[in-house]
Symmetry: C2
Subunit: 298 residues, 2 copies
């Protein structure tokens, strides 16, 4: 193994976790790593720390020392960098890699889901966003973040559960079983405590409440949970229909909420949704290989 040997690193960083994949030049997977939140809107240092931490793990997993970090050609797809402010912050990072190319988690997800070919993708994880990549153009929708968007995401579902539980505890809508379950889960005894505990928590904390809502909705008898999931599905339906207007050859839905939300989607949308071919980390490697090929041909 010479110092000239190239490795490829694919980074997929979201609001809850960061996953990396390390391959050789031929694309053989050598190692993997996983760490915490890597959305720069939750803090640049936190995002950088998560990327480096997962990279260290992947090197170790591949039986390589930390010194090899300067041989890594990194494709980095991150949530949040659709906002120019956060993209600039990341680009100013004095990174330790041989090369680093940054794009959105959305583009690497789309590249991975369709093996580098044209297609559309919806991500519903902690946040939500959609993109069609067709004929060399990208059309992105949503992804505006927890405080003003991200409808149909895990954080949005958890947030709606809190908002509606507070309304129910005030007697302004009927209480359903979700309400005592949410209080018990958050170790609160009343609305006041719940509001105090949840105020200003990060999106990941709200996303952790989503499984409760899904479970309650699946029982088919919890009106609050059903309302929330129907609203979440309604947004994903609208987003899907918008993406389909660009005639992508394929439409994939990924992220932690993709599988649980699928049964709630409209009948005109469901048949369009296909499985992703590869992970976003593989998409990030396809991305950096494209960038690297371009720079080598210059």
């Amino acid at each position: 193994m010479t110092s000239q040997q190239k490795f490829f690193l694919g980074v997929d960083g979201g609001g809850s976790k960061c996953r990396v994949l390390l391959t050789d030049e031929q694309g053989t997977a050598l190692g993997e790593g996983i760490s915490g939140p890597a959305n720069p809107n939750q803090g640049l240092d936190l995002a950088i720390n998560s990327i480096l931490c997962a990279t260290e793990q992947a090197l170790k997993d591949a039986g390589l020392s930390s010194d090899h970090i300067d041989q890594l050609y990194a494709g980095v797809g991150l949530a949040g960098v659709n906002l120019p402010k956060y993209r600039r912050m990341l680009e100013q990072w004095d990174h330790p890699f041989a090369q680093m190319h940054i794009t959105t988690d959305l583009e690497i997800a789309c590249l991975g889901a369709h093996d580098g070919e044209d297609g559309a993708v919806i991500i519903s994880g902690t946040g939500s966003v959609g993109m069609a990549r067709v004929d060399g153009e990208q059309h992105a929708f949503g992804g505006y973040g927890f405080s003003v968007g991200d409808q149909g995401s895990g954080a949005w579902i958890g947030h709606q559960a809190v908002i509606n539980s507070l309304l129910a505890l005030d007697g302004l809508r009927p209480v359903s079983e979700l309400v005592p379950r949410l209080l018990s889960h958050t170790q609160c005894t009343d609305a006041q405590q719940l509001a105090e505990k949840m105020a200003n928590l990060p999106p990941s904390a709200y996303a952790r409440l989503a499984p409760l809502v899904i479970e309650q909705a699946e029982s088919q008898q919890d009106a609050i949970a059903l309302d929330i999931l129907m609203s979440a599905a309604d947004y994903i339906n609208q987003l899907s229909r918008k993406l389909l207007t660009y005639h992508p050859p394929r439409l994939a839905m990924i992220g932690g909420l993709a599988t649980p939300l699928h049964p709630w989607l409209a009948e005109d949308v469901k048949p369009h949704i296909k499985a992703a071919i590869h992970s976003p980390e593989v998409g990030a490697i396809l991305f950096v290989k494209q960038k690297n090929a371009i720079s080598e041909n210059l």
Copy 2:
């Protein structure tokens, strides 16, 4: 004027501003002051600074020197102190007054609105909250803060305007005139910029967008603005009906949104809503006088 002379200070502190009224023992108004946000959930130092700044003004307005601050019997009603965490923070303040008694902005508003008698009050300003004070008991609803509640408030209306404008700019709901007006008002040219600019702004920044929504709704032709105001009114309707179940002799609605929201309220609710007799600052003075009378009688 001896050092024994007592003055009364009524403080009404909300998410956007803090108003104080200074009176003598007979209740004659001597001076007034106004300053910035005094909701401790926006920062304890900011709240304390606003209270002191408005107090200084009131002393000056009354022709009294700053030294008289230790002769003030202060009744302090603040938004946010319904949450025990913020109440405790305020109570630990080493204040400069002769006495300070803290309660919610809600209780002083209710005391002021009904001249110290039983009644109910809804506040819709930057935040929203309701209370019935009947037969020695208080029943409060809402007031859970911008991040998980405050439906029907100025901040909520502004927040909904941003959320719905982003949906419209994504083509997921029809654009109305509110959308270009909001972009122009916030000096943004697209959804991305709007999301970036508004992310994590304080409630007061969102509340400043409410007048745009009201103006657009009043034109009767802006579907987004109409939807938002109808939803805001729906919450206030429900809150009113809840408060009326306690049979308060009077129900008052105060705060910056009270007048603009009134025409949108339901026909069964409107006739119940009466004018407030006094301001919350007067209510704060009624409150500290009650507390002072109790302590003098101990």
